[in-house]
């Protein structure tokens, strides 16, 4: 069943066409990857789907509702969350605070009850905390929960961003180059993490350049070039596709 579908989505920046008449469907429960050369429109598509930008034409539906042009926080509340290619960590918050803040949009108590510290507020805080700790344990950061997030090593900051996104209880998570800057070991661990995210019932949409990761973990791949989709299929089909080799992969197999 289609969870996210893009229909004839086009995005212009000035005269430059970043996404060109793109049709894309991501099914519920799959791990889907979008690859392509730099500047081929992958991140732009993520921005369009999560409301950071509005498409010039066309539209994107999530769970059958239009999301294109919606405001970002509404889309996240609908269950579509993303991470960023360049880390965006809250510099003054601790690891645990990141994850509790991720759950903020699912909490219900109001300001005045928070100021009066009612029983509901205390119960809610307890619940949010337990949930945050569960997610931190899931990504393997529980022992660092009281660290200031900015003092985590780079790879762990990436994990924290994923944890923060998972705390919003999403149905689908879009990971924009999660392995960038990760060591070989960390990106191997990421493969397991991505699989277990899917096993929690969350659909995964992945953008990355590390072919070892992409080919290993994804079930379906679409390839973009100059904003247009040039191929779509299983990892095996993609690796053998002459157009993709020509535009993106290259003949050598040196890249990891």
């Amino acid at each position: 069943m289609a969870l996210l579908s893009a229909r004839q989505v086009t995005k212009y920046f000035g005269g430059l066409c970043a996404v060109d008449n793109l049709d894309l469907t991501v099914n519920e429960g799959e791990i889907f990857a979008l690859i392509g050369p730099n500047g081929s429109g992958k991140t732009t598509f993520t921005n369009l789907a999560t409301g950071m930008m509005a498409p010039t034409s066309g539209h994107i539906e999530f769970q059958g509702t239009f999301v294109s042009g919606q405001r970002p926080h509404i889309i996240t509340q609908m269950g579509l969350v993303r991470t960023f290619q360049n880390l965006r960590i809250f510099s003054s918050l601790t690891v645990l605070e990141h994850v509790t803040l991720g759950h903020f949009c699912r909490t219900t108590t109001r300001v005045w009850s928070n100021v009066l510290r009612t029983r509901q507020v205390k119960e809610e805080e307890e619940k949010v905390r337990a949930r945050a700790e569960e997610i931190l344990a899931f990504v393997g950061l529980l022992d660092r929960k009281d660290w200031p997030a900015r003092s985590l090593p780079y790879g762990q900051q990436r994990l924290l961003e994923i944890a923060r996104a998972l705390a919003t209880d999403p149905r689908m998570i879009m990971l924009d180059e999660p392995a960038a800057g990760m060591t070989m070991q960390e990106s191997s661990d990421l493969i397991h993490l991505i699989r277990s995210i899917r096993d929690r019932g969350i659909t995964v949409f992945l953008i990355d350049h590390k072919m070892r990761l992409v080919m290993n973990v994804s079930e379906r791949i679409a390839v973009l070039n100059f904003g247009r989709k040039i191929a779509e299929g299983t990892p095996k089909e993609i690796q053998e596709n002459p157009d993709v080799i020509e535009a993106y992969l290259g003949k050598g197999r040196r890249t990891a």
Binding site: T83, I89, L101, G102, T107, N114, A165
Partner: protein, 325 residues
């Protein structure tokens, strides 16, 4: 800093010191300045929420202050409202101005927001001066009543002082609770990275408007007390320089640390008065002092305190808690 225990200890110490200070000051003038300082503490607590916690450089404090002062002044003298309803009205009124100002934040960030708030402050002063029919124009408003409890009116400046101090303490506690709640974390999240906050489902615009409204509610109370303390107000007080002075209070205290902002408010209320013997030079020197703080102690009082605690911890041989990254 992010250390709520340190914050609470500092708050207790500050309010105890302020309570003890009143009898120690003998000069009538400085007693008055002390009362002004506590009113500024209330207003700076509001600014702390929007500037310190939410990171929005709000340069229109004079606007909030002016509106709040005039609401109380006009409500008591022209509408015949009692002091208490008028104080609530000024708080709510300025809180509402927070919504009005918050709406532009739907689209504005950084400098744009700051400049819009400067514009807001200047336009407010302009209206207060020129809308003579209502505001009395440049002549201002006279005979603003003092607070009362039943038949007991706080004409005595000392009584007024303790009354304001009690309100300031209550509001500081409210601000501290808010800071420790999930909303406090959300404020800081929006301050650190608005886009990231949006991406995890936080309505950053809503959070900013909320911070503006909270600021307005606090400033409204302080401004009302100001009118009542002086019993006379006129528009030429509410200038851009005053807005800057409030921002400087937060800065001197250290952005994001409430006790720091409060100390900043007290210091910067007294400093210009104490520099008055320098006559024409005093504002120039005041500018230099602010410049010096920004350059040499950018963390403000909070930064100095943190540095001190850090050095002491190191001296005691407790290693850093976190590894390098």
């Amino acid at each position: 800093m992010g250390n709520s225990r340190l914050r609470n200890i500092c708050l207790v110490i500050i309010f105890v010191l302020l309570a003890c200070a009143e009898p120690l000051i003998t000069s009538r003038f400085y007693k008055f300045v002390l009362a002004l300082a506590v009113i500024n503490v209330i207003m700076v607590t509001g600014l702390h929420v929007i500037f310190g916690l939410t990171g929005q450089i709000f340069m229109g404090m004079a606007g909030f202050w002016g509106i709040g002062s005039y609401i109380l002044a006009l409500a008591t003298t022209k509408m015949g409202l009692g002091f208490w309803p008028a104080l609530i009205l000024s708080s709510v009124g300025v809180g509402f101005m927070g919504v009005v100002l918050g709406i532009p934040t739907l689209r504005l960030k950084g400098y744009y927001l700051s400049i819009t708030t400067i514009g807001f402050g200047e336009i407010t002063r302009f209206i207060l001066m020129n809308w003579s029919a209502v505001t009395g124009g440049v002549f201002g408003v006279f005979n603003i009543p003092r607070p009362h409890f039943g038949g007991f009116v706080l004409t005595n400046d000392a009584h007024f002082y303790y009354f304001s101090l009690a309100l300031a303490a209550i509001l500081a506690v409210v601000a501290a609770i808010l800071e420790d709640s999930k909303y406090g974390t959300a404020f800081k999240g929006v301050r650190d990275d608005e886009l990231a906050a949006d991406a995890i489902g936080i309505d950053s615009t809503g959070i900013k408007v909320m911070a503006f409204v909270t600021c307005g509610l606090f400033v409204g109370i302080g401004a009302g007390l100001y009118s009542s303390l002086l019993t006379y107000i006129s528009p030429e007080v509410f200038t851009l320089e005053e807005s800057f002075r409030f921002v400087t209070m937060v800065l001197v205290g250290g952005i994001g640390f409430l006790p720091g902002a409060i100390v900043g408010a007290v210091v910067l209320t007294f400093l210009p008065e104490m520099l008055r013997f320098l006559q024409a030079w005093y504002l120039a020197i005041y500018g230099l002092i602010v410049l010096g703080i920004v350059i040499y102690q950018p963390g403000g009082i909070a930064g100095a305190l943190q540095g001190f605690l850090e050095r002491r911890r190191l001296a005691r041989g407790e290693g850093k808690q976190y590894g390098t990254a």
